[in-house]
Symmetry: C2
Subunit: 318 residues, 2 copies
């Protein structure tokens, strides 16, 4: 990384808190992470951010820093910098996150939803590079995302566009973490996938899943599928098919050039791709059949990089 | 309507072909309509458009006309002015609609998807006036729509964003006119509503529906519901609930300020509203619960007015 202006990217997650310096080309330097003290409340978490930013800045000339871009889980009212209610972080309810952070940090603070931040990162510097229309979907514990259409980031009312996990896939279906029934997240997230695996393994005559008391989580299912376990292969195929179904809806609604898949389950992109892509092909109307699904390129850094790129854009336009 | 520049709005539908003069305030003059010769093929239909535009222009000074905005059913590649395959109009497959029309008409031709045109009409001059984020949904024979987010019309790849009817509501559910299974259109359109009514009436012990051999269509069901028919009331409630479910997905994906409902079923907006709105409330995450559903204000003119307003915008920006 050469000289030139740097932005600090911060990714506040329910499990991990990450920070790094990001240059205008999206390159990442001094990346640090800690476990989020998610139960500690806003003061504790903001103290962690302040500390982490300090450690990322060691040995850096503060005059090179143009600002801090913070990616945080929603729903956030990003127009006013307010966390409306973050399910994974205690006490972040109607909390003025941007203003409270600004008091602690000597650089201008920007706040963006995590799904939108990651979408921007992938669009600017990752798998969505060069496309005008990108739908980014992160499939992990939950499902989130962000959307770029006509070369513009969709924000919508209160900056809350792109709550992709809460599109309804099965009316009155499984209970979702949001309280509603039948959301895409309640069927296609890593948690839903693992829950299906646990439920089916109980009733399966022969399966490697849960053998000798091993835990049944997403990696275990993919691993068993690779080892030839029939139940695990069925589960992977079903997960891929559910993802492809949801993606077909997104393709018809947004008309992207490409769907970028990130999050924990994207580590198994190759295992999911054949059935996921076949299902999208099957459900897409003819004019939409050539939309491709690709894997995130920035992985864990997409949110950091995206939030920081907003800071660079602001600096360049001011 | 005073003087000032005028645009010709044309709404090419599978049943009706409409044209009118539209001023910069969205006021409609000289509106004419004919039945579309939908089976006749492109030459016949383009001849109809040419003739209708001629009759709309009678007594008008051609120098006042800035252009012609055409709203047509999709999928259209509006970037290139090509009709990809219009299910309701014979022969419009990979047909260069904009270029062919331009040969017949002495004013600049703009082409836009009907759902997007109507969305623009409602946003500029109708029920979406003054909002930055509007999702327009037309519920008729099929379901279509268009989306304005952050004060910009979403177009997406090939201008095909907003195919709202083909969001999947019930995976592997009822067959849709698009060939896919389980689309929103296959459950919530006027046709789907009437089909459910016909199927249920056959097995109902006592109902006004179909009594004495009367036809069972959407108006008949609403009318029977108003007369106290229990089956008809159930059907209306179910239709409202399906619409509310789909709208909840749209609210989470786009974060609009308002959902504007148009199309044939919006004539019965008051009958649908209570259950439709309650269902949206039930399914929306807390931060999205105050999004309202409102009825289209421009009705049949929304597409005409929207397509014409694009012509005015182009003229003002050139």
């Amino acid at each position: 990384m050469g000289s030139g202006p740097l932005a600090i990217g911060v990714d506040l997650g329910g499990t991990q808190l990450r920070a790094a310096l990001i240059d205008r080309n999206g390159a990442v330097r001094n990346r640090k992470s800690v476990f989020t003290k998610a139960a500690g409340g806003p003061d504790v978490v903001l103290g962690q951010i302040e500390h982490l930013v300090g450690s990322v800045l060691q040995g850096v000339d503060g005059r090179d820093i143009t600002g801090i871009g913070v990616s945080a889980p929603g729903p956030l009212d990003t127009r006013n910098g307010v966390a409306l209610s973050i399910p994974t972080l205690a006490g972040f309810v109607d909390y003025p996150l941007a203003a409270a952070l600004q008091k602690r940090l000597p650089f201008p603070v920007s706040l963006e939803n995590d799904g939108i931040s990651a979408a921007i990162g992938e669009w600017r510097f990752g798998a969505g590079r060069g496309f005008e229309n990108v739908v980014y979907v992160t499939v992990s514990t939950g499902i989130g995302g962000g959307v770029i259409i006509d070369n513009r980031v969709l924000r919508g009312r209160l900056g809350m566009a792109g709550h992709i996990g809460h599109m309804i896939l099965v009316p009155d279906g499984e209970r979702c973490s949001c309280g509603n029934l039948g959301c895409f997240e309640a069927y296609a997230s890593g948690s839903a996938f693992a829950a299906r695996a646990m439920a089916r393994a109980k009733h399966a005559a022969t399966t490697l899943l849960g053998a000798n008391g091993t835990a049944i989580d997403s990696p275990a299912v993919f691993s068993a599928a690779r080892a030839g376990d029939a139940l695990a292969q069925d589960l992977v195929g079903e997960e891929a098919r559910i993802l492809g179904t949801g993606f077909a809806s997104l393709v018809h609604l947004f008309s992207p050039d490409v769907i970028v898949m990130g999050g924990g389950l994207s580590h198994e992109f190759d295992a999911l791709y054949p059935a996921m892509s076949a299902r999208l092909q099957e459900c897409a109307m003819p004019a939409f059949k050539d939309v491709r699904i690709v894997r995130s390129e920035l992985g864990e850094n997409s949110g950091l990089v995206g939030a920081a790129s907003l800071v660079h854009e602001k600096a360049e336009n001011s």
